[in-house]
Amino acid sequence: MLLIRCPHCGDRPEVEFRHGGEAHLARPPEPAALSDAEWAAYLHQRRNPRGPHAERWRHIHGCGRFFNAVRDTLTDRFLATYPTGAARPDGTQQGDPA
């Protein structure tokens, strides 16, 4: 079981959290302006990197807040957790899509 550091509450066991998919995917402000292909890409296309990956988590059985985390998909090691809206920390570059 993973130990996850909620930016608001500290280290908590994995069972208190819910995974929320890839991070830093902003909903387009004008969806109607997008082509079908662009919209489909926003809806469905996700990176699946081998290595550091920025993803959303929610401390659903704790403070209830969403936050972002960079996790190495190879080792399951968390490199950083940070509040929603904050930029991805330096030194946690994206892994290679695999």
Partner: protein, 970 residues
């Protein structure tokens, strides 16, 4: 009773005390400190079971957790029957009752053994190749037959009466294995001030020290040092967990341990989930058997196991042993056994030139060594009586020992995602690097000398200065297993995996048939797939596969070690999460009333809802018809408390709902309600419910019963991550409001006298109104809404006030025919009106238009979640499945039945989503999703019937009753 194979003295068991136990109906005795296996061997009992596939007689192979053969059933009374217990790991206790498995009528005379006679006809993949057809023969004939023939223990049928515990623990250092390396690690870590947990799967700590009484550590005899070390660990507050198996290594050093507490009271098993800053693995090594014909006969045993039985338990596994020693440790075992009083018939060493020092010692002891020779086959029936050497010599013996070298126990290290490297000198895979904070010490990384084990443990525990001293011991060597297995593939009944009855020739056959990956060879032959996970068979099987492929072992690879490394009881894993505690049951505030009324309940999400209230003599169908008629003709009362409720509050609340729901909200006046539909971003309906505007900045949102948590999560997601600028607060209020629905033409008449501060007449409180008021003096939110098509109200009050109000309404309504109704009548009533139920009429692929709900979508809205997806060409096709009404002829179709255009059509064009007998129409009705359905009104389609003729149905509008809505607006 005398135990003829017990030595005169020595060993760990407490000979002053006697325990009696029963195996297959015969009573034996033993001592505390014995295992079931050692106590049986003390009485000369080797035959303990029949094998899985061929029903061959099997005996005790090992002295430890790797045991593949001696699996017995322990019976401690109803619900306490435990199959597949390894006799080598069962501590003996007084009154223990054990039985052999997989035999009929008896262990000695087993009818299934005929399979063994036909073994030549049962090669690897036999089942895949043979039991292929015809169609249903597998489930009707083959599978039941194979299941009866092949199999291990019987699972208990009764409920388990015992208690199981689970515990989380944290420590600085977790040491797995309390042999010399683990003890040295725990001592070093604890002396340095670390919080330490030390666990070991045996009933007694000490590991290999327990079978080395003659050794010396730090100037003390080995067993004395062990006492001193354990006493010091206790004084240092180290948590000592004997009888505790580390069976799973999870992420971030979370290791799961299964403890079998010794106390009779208390939990039967305890699951420990230990989070350790550092883990030291001192898990030892397992001896390899060797494949030759009849290497599975009772009396054929691992050489070190025989040494352990003699020196730890004071039990000689035979009177006269022959030793097949492809590794030096076979000599050590032979010398130790001879010293303990066993006759050594011969040592057969397949190496042409065994080490000179061992040869010299054997000669000095008068033991004959046959260099360059192996065992061609064992002799005997249900017990070994001798062997034929590869040189053709016949040697008599009642014990045949195998020393095939050692396999370090790297299972847990591998689960820690540690990489393994092949070490040719030690002929084994050894731990290399791991991403977790884990260190190995001793035999599990190929260090077999006592001095090395102590030094490595001391270092792994973070020790300073010198480790506890011991003689370094000689560096052992052996014939590589890939050489030692040569020729085995041609030998009949040369077993590799004893538990799954896999022979050397099966592995060679798999390779010949084209399987190259060791993972595929494993699955095709089932080598290493039994409950022992191949602890004795993996490396031997790998060596045979490599030899057959003409490759080196590291080129062939290694299979993965699954969780659990060692079989673990289900009880500990389940802990207290069983019975009533398996999953919480949510009971609405009026549950007690419904229960007292004799309601039938059904599970809806975690709730239990009253399905119907049958009266004496009524079945469910009759009750539902009566309840429906009451609602249409008079009035019904319904507990709608399980509806999800979310309070959406804030200056931007309307703007937030505008973005989350398809409907327009900004112009909805306070005091009014609207039926809301929520989509996912992909355009499909995910939830629906009535939303009431309580004030300009406050909405009372209802969701489906099952969707409450999902909807709140989705709302929070958008609010926190996409629209953080909106000033909105979301609160789940599902359990803050009990909801009593009054539905039917008399609903207003019954309710009106209770309402204070509100005129609920049709003119001033029309359909889809909401207001705060008092009902029977209780603060309430009163909705005028309907899910039945009748004049209806939903009274929201605090849950603790709800039962009193419910009873008062029942009393006041009785003269008017007020009738409680359940979810089944609710389903029928709403279907007569064509109201959908999300997840019944929808399945995650239904758009608002598909469901006939386009009218609800705010056409002028620039955006809402899911809107862009609705514009995709696929979503606008005219032949999408659309909600229609169906008028079945004669009988009610099955919900989920496929809809066909003609009775014999091969292609379905939709499916029935809801189907009932309608009391209002006095005929069957159904709702369904039908391709292009709205353009097919009046057509006849057909619902499939399992094993019967399809039911003809006329396509019609989904609103079957009161299309103008006069009743609901009354």
């Amino acid at each position: 009773m005398s135990a003829p194979f017990r030595t005169h003295q020595g060993g760990r068991p407490d000979r002053a005390r006697t325990l009696r136990f029963t195996f297959d109906g015969r009573t034996y005795d033993g001592h505390p400190g014995d295992t079931l296996a050692s106590a049986l061997l003390a009485h000369g009992v080797h035959l303990t079971g029949r094998s899985f596939k061929y029903h061959r007689p099997r005996g005790i192979l090992s002295a430890g957790p790797e045991e593949p053969n001696a699996l017995v059933e322990l019976d401690a009374g109803p619900g306490r029957r435990e199959p597949n217990s390894r006799a080598t790991m069962v501590p003996l206790r007084d009154g223990l009752l054990a039985r052999s498995q997989n035999r009929w009528p008896s262990l000695a005379w087993d009818a299934g053994a005929l399979t063994g006679a036909a073994a030549a006809l049962l090669p690897a993949g036999f089942y895949y190749k043979t039991f292929m057809g015809p169609g249903r023969a597998w489930e009707k004939l083959y599978e039941p037959l194979i299941r009866r023939m092949a199999g291990l223990g019987r699972a208990p049928a009764e409920a388990d009466p015992d208690r199981y515990a689970q515990r989380y623990a944290h420590c600085d250092v977790l040491v797995v294995g309390a042999g010399p390396a683990g003890l040295a690690a725990a001592l070093a870590a604890a002396r340095g001030g670390a919080r330490v947990i030390l666990c070991d799967e045996q009933m007694e700590m000490g590991g290999s020290l327990l079978s080395q009484p003659g050794t010396r550590i730090a100037g003390l005899p080995g067993w004395e040092w062990l006492e001193v070390a354990l006493a010091e660990l206790r004084a240092l507050k180290v948590r000592l967990l004997p009888r505790t198996t580390a069976f799973s290594y999870g992420l971030q050093n979370m290791v799961s341990l299964a403890e079998l507490p010794e106390r009779a009271e208390g939990p039967r098993e305890r699951l420990w989930m230990v989070r350790a800053a550092r883990v030291v693995l001192a898990t030892g090594a397992i001896e390899r058997p060797l494949p030759f014909s009849g290497n599975d006969r009772p009396g054929v045993m691992l050489a070190d196991a025989a040494r352990v039985y003699a020196l730890r338990y004071g039990v000689l596994a035979g009177h006269r042993a022959a030793v097949l020693a492809a590794h030096d440790s076979g000599y050590e075992a032979a010398f130790a056994l001879q010293a303990a009083g066993m006759e050594i018939a011969a040592i057969l060493d397949p190496r042409a030139a065994p080490p000179a020092d061992l040869l010299a010692e054997a000669t000095g002891r008068g033991i004959r060594v046959l260099a360059g020779q192996g065992v061609a086959r064992s002799l005997g029936g249900r017990r070994v009586t001798g062997l034929i050497s590869t040189g053709g010599e016949r040697i008599g013996c009642d014990l045949l020992l195998m020393a095939g070298g050692w396999t370090p126990s790297v299972h847990l290290f591998s689960q820690a995602r540690g990489a393994l490297r092949w070490d040719a000198a030690r002929d084994a895979y050894l731990p290399d690097t791991a991403p977790e904070a884990v260190l190995c010490a001793g035999a599990c990384q190929g260090s077999y000398g006592l001095g090395a084990c102590l030094a490595e443990g001391h270092a792994a525990g973070g020790g300073h200065g010198a480790a506890p001293g011991a003689q370094p011991g000689r560096e052992p060597s052996g014939m590589p297993t890939a050489q030692a297995v040569a020729g085995a593939a041609k030998a009949p009944m040369a077993f590799v995996d004893f538990q799954n009855d896999v022979q050397a020739k099966d592995i060679a056959l798999a390779v010949r048939e084209g399987f190259r990956s060791i993972e595929h060879v494993k699955r095709y032959t089932t080598n290493g797939m039994a409950t022992d996970q191949g602890k004795t068979s993996n490396m031997v099987g790998l060596a045979i596969a490599a030899a057959t492929l003409g490759q080196e072992i590291p080129a062939v690879g290694l299979t993965r070690y699954r969780h659990p490394v060692t079989p673990t009881g289900f009880g500990g894993l389940a802990g207290r999460h069983r019975g009533d505690l398996f999953e919480p049951i949510r009971r609405a505030p009026l549950h007690g009333w419904a229960e007292a009324e004799g309601a039938l309940f059904e599970p809806v999400a975690q709730w239990r809802r009253a399905r119907a209230f049958p009266r004496a003599g009524e079945d469910l169908h009759a009750a539902v018809l009566r309840e429906c008629r009451a609602v249409r003709q008079a009035a019904g009362i319904f507990d709608a408390s399980t509806l999800g409720k979310i309070e959406v509050v804030g200056p931007d609340a309307a703007e937030f709902l505008e973005r989350l729901y398809v409907n327009p909200w900004k112009k909805l006046a306070p005091g009014r309600c609207r039926y809301g539909i929520m989509l996912r971003e992909d355009g499909f309906v995910t939830d629906d419910g009535v939303v009431g505007r309580m004030a300009a900045d406050r909405f009372h949102v209802t969701t489906t019963t099952g969707g409450a948590a999902r909807v709140l999560h989705m709302m929070e997601d958008y609010l926190q991550t996409e629209f953080p600028e909106l000033r909105v607060w979301l609160t789940s209020t599902t359990e803050q409001w009990a909801v009593i629905a009054l539905q039917g033409p008399k609903a207003r008449t019954i309710l009106e006298p209770f309402v204070e501060g509100l005129d609920i007449s049709a003119a001033s409180f029309p359909h889809m109104s909401v207001a705060a008021c008092r009902v029977m003096g209780i603060p309430a939110r009163l909705f005028r809404v309907s899910f039945t098509g009748e004049l209806g109200f939903e009274v929201n009050v605090a849950p603790d006030q709800a039962p009193a109000l419910w009873r008062a309404l029942m009393r006041a309504g009785a003269p008017h025919g007020l009738t409680p109704y359940g979810t089944e009548a609710m389903h029928v009533l709403r279907a007569e009106k064509g109201y959908i139920i999300v997840s019944q009429e929808t399945d995650g692929t239904v758009t608002p238009d598909d469901a006939g709900l386009s009218w609800a979508v705010g056409k002028a809205k620039r955006d809402f979640v899911g809107k862009r997806s609705l514009a995709r060409p696929e979503m606008r096709r005219r032949d999408r499945p659309q909600l229609v009404g169906l008028l079945p002829r004669g009988t009610v179709p099955q919900e989920g039945a496929q809809i066909l255009a003609s009775p014999g059509a091969r292609m379905a064009e939709g499916h029935v989503t809801s189907a009932y007998w309608s009391p209002a129409l006095d005929r069957p009705i159904a709702l369904g999703l039908l391709a292009g359905g709205r353009e097919r009104m009046g057509q006849t389609v057909y619902a499939t019937v399992m094993g019967g003729a399809p039911i003809a149905m006329e396509v019609t509008d989904p609103v079957f009753l009161d299309k103008a809505g006069e009743r609901v607006n009354a």
